[in-house]
């Protein structure tokens, strides 16, 4: 079975398109993504911005990381959709958040994202991996922002195959980019880093 990347909801893409006209009227887009800015500045172009690819974006908090070792990533929250926009070889990621009801989509952030190309390349490699051919995995992005971790999360909704997590570069020293981790191995690798932050958490401190 091929990897499954669910199509993004139309409302999510509409929310991205809705913000583009005001985005191209100022200098910020040209600073962050000059090629996208130039392309979107053409008449009516902003309204027709079309993602090359879109993924569900899940986030996991430190307090839920330990439980993921045994329960998988059930505690991960769907924070929205990440849309990949490609303009003349410039790769940009645009996040559109979604609320808990799943009905309300709002533009959240846009960046020139070197990791976006890495994600695309990794997904392409995973799609060719014969070891994954016997399961039907849905592809999502999993972030643990407090640790600066980004990974591709392969989840078999039928439950026949165990979750696989593939960290995307740049990675922390505890992880190896491109390696296939089980949920248990992934959380075990990050357990000490999470514990270190939680043990010394303070409302005015910062780390990663």
């Amino acid at each position: 079975m091929p990897l499954v990347i669910p199509p993004a909801p139309a409302q999510s893409i509409d929310a991205l398109r809705a913000v583009m006209p005001s985005m191209v009227r100022g200098p910020l887009l040209a600073h962050v993504a000059p090629r996208l800015s130039a392309a979107a500045s053409q008449p009516d172009a902003a309204a027709s911005v079309s993602p090359a690819q879109s993924y569900k974006l899940y986030t996991l908090g430190l307090s839920d990381l330990a439980a993921a070792a045994t329960n998988g990533f059930r505690a991960a929250t769907l924070s929205g959709w990440r849309h990949i926009l490609v303009s003349n070889q410039e790769v940009v990621s645009a996040d559109v958040s979604v609320d808990a009801t799943g009905a309300n989509h709002q533009f959240a952030a846009l960046r020139a994202d070197p990791s976006a190309a890495a994600v695309q390349a990794e997904i392409a490699a995973l799609a060719q991996d014969p070891a994954l051919a016997n399961a039907s995995y849905e592809v999502s992005l999993l972030q643990i922002p407090a640790l600066g971790v980004r990974a591709i999360w392969l989840h078999d909704a039928s439950g026949h195959a165990a979750d696989i997590v593939v960290p995307v570069a740049p990675v922390r020293s505890e992880l190896v980019a491109g390696r296939h981790y089980s949920a248990a191995a992934f959380t075990a690798a990050l357990a000490d880093a999470a514990a270190k932050i939680l043990a010394d958490d303070h409302p005015q401190k910062g780390s990663g």
Partner: protein
């Protein structure tokens, strides 16, 4: 808001997994001083009191979370801090060319620091992140737990250029007096009157005289001072027309309001006279041990010889104690009706001019009269460093790591003071306070 701004500020990638605070503070230092030699590991060494974080940065003792306010203080660019900021707060700081920094609190624990360096209509902000790089985000994203999927703006750190500098080449032995047109007047260690521009140029003696106090300079160009003969003197700022108006002896710097001069006599009584030397009179029957503070609405505030705060109308009526307190310094009275003073416990106090609402804002010790400008109180700490705090007692911060021997003279944008090296110093704040 419709403002569009983009500053040339960019946060370095953090070099270790826990060093966002070091990356942001180092980047702020390089924004204000591109030739700065500050590095992330130097900040970490100083903040964690170590010496090995440049040679062994990933070791557990070095790779630790930290506080951005303290790191910014170390690099000399911390202005003040508040909780979640408004979009207008960010725009206001950007308009001044002072990029604000933000703490992001992650859902589930942990925090992260980023910088802001641009804005655009529809509440779009350009942020720079030591992990995730630069991005355009909405204000709503930052304040509703959506930054990188789960982050919320929890704290705001305003930065400033904080240029501290020597003013001219001189030595002084008193608090300076600074005028709106940018001149600093001061008592030299040779006991003569001097002036110098706030940029250090134009230093000159003002006529031939000897003085023993901080001068008082009027908007119409007269310098009033206590001579070493304990007489009141005046001289034009260009050194002409020096004279000794009236027949008096004084113990303090004079205060001039309108065409009246107020002073503490050598008999410890409060006196006033017209600026031409006429109409010299005692103001009621009292004894004082400080320079009087005279307000535009016709009240004189002073420290009595009983070390309590007093007030009296300029015509001598209405004399009264202000609440129950003891003070060591001249009071400072604000236009909105607060009397600020150094208590005999060496802490800062404030009380309404009608004696109500006496309180001790903040947590500090002081060894000088305070000076209040806008919403900020400036004072010399008992540690001889310059301090500033908001009038509600919050935001207390050590300014620039300097030492002073005098009450600072604060304007809206800068502070001037006698250093412990007996030279004149200026400290320019680039953020609007």
């Amino acid at each position: 808001m419709g403002t569009t701004i983009q500053l040339s500020f960019q946060v370095q990638q953090q070099l270790e997994s826990e060093w966002c605070w070091a990356a942001v503070s180092t980047s702020v230092a390089h924004y204000y001083a591109p030739s700065s030699s500050v590095t992330q590991c130097l900040v970490v060494n100083q903040q964690l009191k170590r010496t090995d974080c440049c040679s062994n940065p990933s070791s557990n003792p070095c790779n630790q979370p930290g506080y951005l306010d303290q790191a910014l203080q170390y690099v000399g660019h911390f202005c003040w801090e508040k909780g979640t900021g408004s979009y207008g707060d960010a725009v206001g700081a950007l308009e001044w060319g002072t990029p604000p920094c933000i703490r992001i609190g992650w859902s589930g624990g942990g925090g992260h620091f980023i910088g802001v360096y641009g804005c655009q209509p529809n509440e779009l902000l350009l942020v720079t992140d030591p992990i995730y790089g630069d991005s355009i985000v909405t204000y709503q994203t930052l304040t509703t737990g959506k930054y990188e999927g789960s982050g919320t703006w929890t704290n705001t750190y305003f930065t400033e250029a904080s240029a501290q500098y020597h003013i001219g080449n001189n030595t002084t032995s008193a608090m300076p007096f600074v005028t709106a047109n940018g001149w600093v007047y001061f008592q030299g260690t040779d006991n003569t009157l001097w002036k110098v521009k706030t940029d250090g140029t134009g230093q000159a003696k003002i006529n031939n005289n000897t003085t023993k106090s901080t001068p008082f300079v009027t908007s119409d160009g007269w310098v009033w001072f206590q001579g070493t003969d304990d007489k009141l003197w005046k001289v034009k700022t260009d050194g002409t027309q020096q004279s000794q108006p009236g027949n008096n002896t004084t113990k303090s710097s004079p205060t001039v309001v309108g065409d009246w001069v107020y002073f503490q006599g050598t008999d410890n009584a409060l006196w006033r006279m017209k600026t031409d030397g006429s109409n010299q009179t005692k103001i009621n029957n009292n004894t004082t041990s400080s320079t009087p503070f005279v307000t535009a609405d016709g009240w004189v505030y002073f420290r009595g010889t009983d070390n309590t705060l007093w007030k009296v109308k300029t015509d001598g009526t209405g004399q009264a104690k202000i609440n129950n307190n003891t003070t060591r310094s001249s009071p400072f009275v604000t236009a909105d009706g607060w009397v600020w003073f150094q208590g005999t416990d060496n802490t800062l106090w404030k009380v309404k001019t009608d004696g109500t609402q006496q309180s001790q804002p903040g947590n500090n010790t002081t060894s000088s009269s305070p000076m209040v400008v806008g919403n900020w109180v400036y004072f010399r700490g008992t540690d001889n460093t310059l301090w500033r705090m908001a009038t509600d007692g919050t935001g207390q911060v050590d300014l620039g790591g300097n030492t002073t021997l005098s009450t600072p003279f604060a304007t809206g944008k800068a502070i001037y003071f006698e250093g412990t090296d007996h030279t004149l110093w200026g400290y320019v704040m680039s953020f609007p306070v």
